[in-house]
Symmetry: C2
Subunit: 323 residues, 2 copies
């Protein structure tokens, strides 16, 4: 069994081995930049860990699939940053802010095509491809819901979980399932690993919401409060709306829709409402519930406990992360 750092190193080596043409420079330079932006490579490592549970040995096809999901993830970040008008990601300028909208659209498109080249070439069977295809569509649906929800004054918790389930959890779940499928795991184990990673993905998104409001900005690589400024419907938002009543709830919704306040002031006031609603604690409770459910799914996977230790550690690390 390989540890997170061993697999992350393998992924990083394989990523460094990807080569793109030199020209058109405005197409391939943003792609190289986006791929070498020092992400955590959670999806490819998760895929490889799940393959490692069942395969005799990790093969090139597993690594290619893992790169495919990472490139897909990278494509979504490039395009999401256009829609979110984001200027920073992981402490560096986004592709759209560095090269403009056209280059960001096209380099994202080309990245999606590269992702499909890798996945189609390595899938081997229809089930692996189906899992990827399904998640690919769900991620687009989730991003569209996210954009739609920005325009709505409020949404329910169910709507929140439906959105982040597609936007964030689906690709993590598909990564786990693809790794297991490519290593010929049985259907029941594929489903359990899918469930494990799906619930973990929801918890991961809660941690994202948490960090966007409360992270140490220096560690975080970008300013906190971005979600509040953009009117994103985070878990902190939906649980605050659900907890407040009457005048206070109205004031909160009014605040979240205003464009008149300076960002810092809006963030400060929003966090006061979060505190009244005990939203931080509600988020941590929900995160723990999801984490425990994920662990239960993992426990049911038919592999010896000690073989699953790296997956447990990965899950824990995702929830304790500061960035």
């Amino acid at each position: 069994m390989y540890s997170f750092s061993q697999l992350a190193e393998q992924v990083a080596r394989a990523m460094a081995g990807l080569s793109f043409p030199q020209t058109p420079e405005m197409l391939y330079q943003p792609m190289r930049y986006a791929l070498l932006s020092g992400g955590k490579h959670i999806r490819p490592v998760l895929l490889l860990m799940c393959a490692d549970l069942f395969a005799q040995e990790l093969e090139k096809k597993h690594v290619d699939l893992s790169l495919g999901v990472e490139l897909f993830h990278c494509f979504t970040l490039i395009h999401d940053d256009i829609m979110d008008r984001a200027s920073l990601r992981r402490g560096r300028p986004t592709v759209v802010s560095k090269w403009g909208v056209s280059a960001a659209i096209l380099s994202g498109d080309a990245m999606l095509i590269e992702a499909y080249k890798l996945v189609c070439g390595a899938a081997g069977n229809a089930a692996v491809l189906d899992a990827f295809n399904r998640a690919a569509t769900e991620v687009c649906e989730g991003q569209q819901l996210d954009v739609d929800f920005e325009q709505q004054p409020t949404i329910t918790k169910d709507e929140y979980f439906a959105m982040v389930g597609k936007k964030t959890a689906a690709l993590l779940a598909a990564s786990a399932a693809m790794g297991a499928l490519a290593a010929s795991a049985g259907d029941a184990d594929v489903r359990r690993l899918y469930d494990f990673a799906y619930k973990l993905g929801l918890a991961f998104q809660l941690q994202d919401d948490y960090l966007d409001a409360y992270a140490n900005a220096a560690e975080f690589g970008k300013a906190t409060g971005g979600d509040i400024a953009a009117g994103k419907k985070t878990f902190l938002f939906v649980s605050t709306v659900a907890a407040l009543r009457g005048r206070e709830r109205d004031d909160f919704l009014l605040l979240m829709q205003t464009t008149r306040l300076p960002t810092a002031e809006k963030v400060l006031q929003a966090k006061r409402f979060y505190a009244k609603a005990n939203a931080q604690q509600l988020l941590k409770d929900a995160e723990n519930t999801l984490f425990n459910a994920a662990m239960q799914s993992l426990a049911q996977v038919s592999a010896p406990r000690e073989r699953k230790e790296h997956l447990e550690r990965l899950a824990l690390a995702l929830l304790q992360r500061k960035t």
Copy 2:
């Protein structure tokens, strides 16, 4: 053998049979709109004609591949219209002008994913997929070159053909090759059909350049002169630059870069330079040369002459089109 109209009808029926979820509405409504915009379905018909040359009978896999290339083409139109700030296509508002940038990016992304689902599901062998993958990347490269060239005062004819070869000819050529490959044609015939469609694709783009400047606007479905207004490097532009000398050449380049003139006036003046350079005739000459070369490639395909008649007629129709 099936005629253009028989195959176009089959494609239209199959397209009408594609179904997408109802929600998120802002994702799937633009996709439906873009697919039902009454395009000519040249690429899927070309693919089916090339399959029909060698297959006993056209099968579902051929139709699925043909839909895949049409959906891919449709994805490129949605995203290109964002980059080109185009408000009309085929006489109707573009997706970006109707639903905005975010919805256009995402519905284009989801369309590309649907294209890959169809092509991967029906490819059957690696060669079909490789042909599609190669073209997919080339189309992105060609579009990037097109965007790059807008910023340059001038380009050479070689640069022009390299750009339109990728942006327009590559997908037509891949469609022909994919059809032949999926019907188990031999390598030599696949190559000849690729060459046929590639040269035809270049001629097709010349006709596009011609129509953008000289079409009957009512038949054309949008205003003429769009390429001149946008500073596009068309064949008319490059052959005018190549034909003019000294002061006249400088004046033309200056005119094409100006943003101060009203569009109608700029278009009028540009066309005067085109006339001096005899650019219309140069374009028609180049178009005929390419058309004849395409016909030569087709003639070498090892199938009886009468089986190739529909492809000949398709080629002719593409060059005589008014829209």
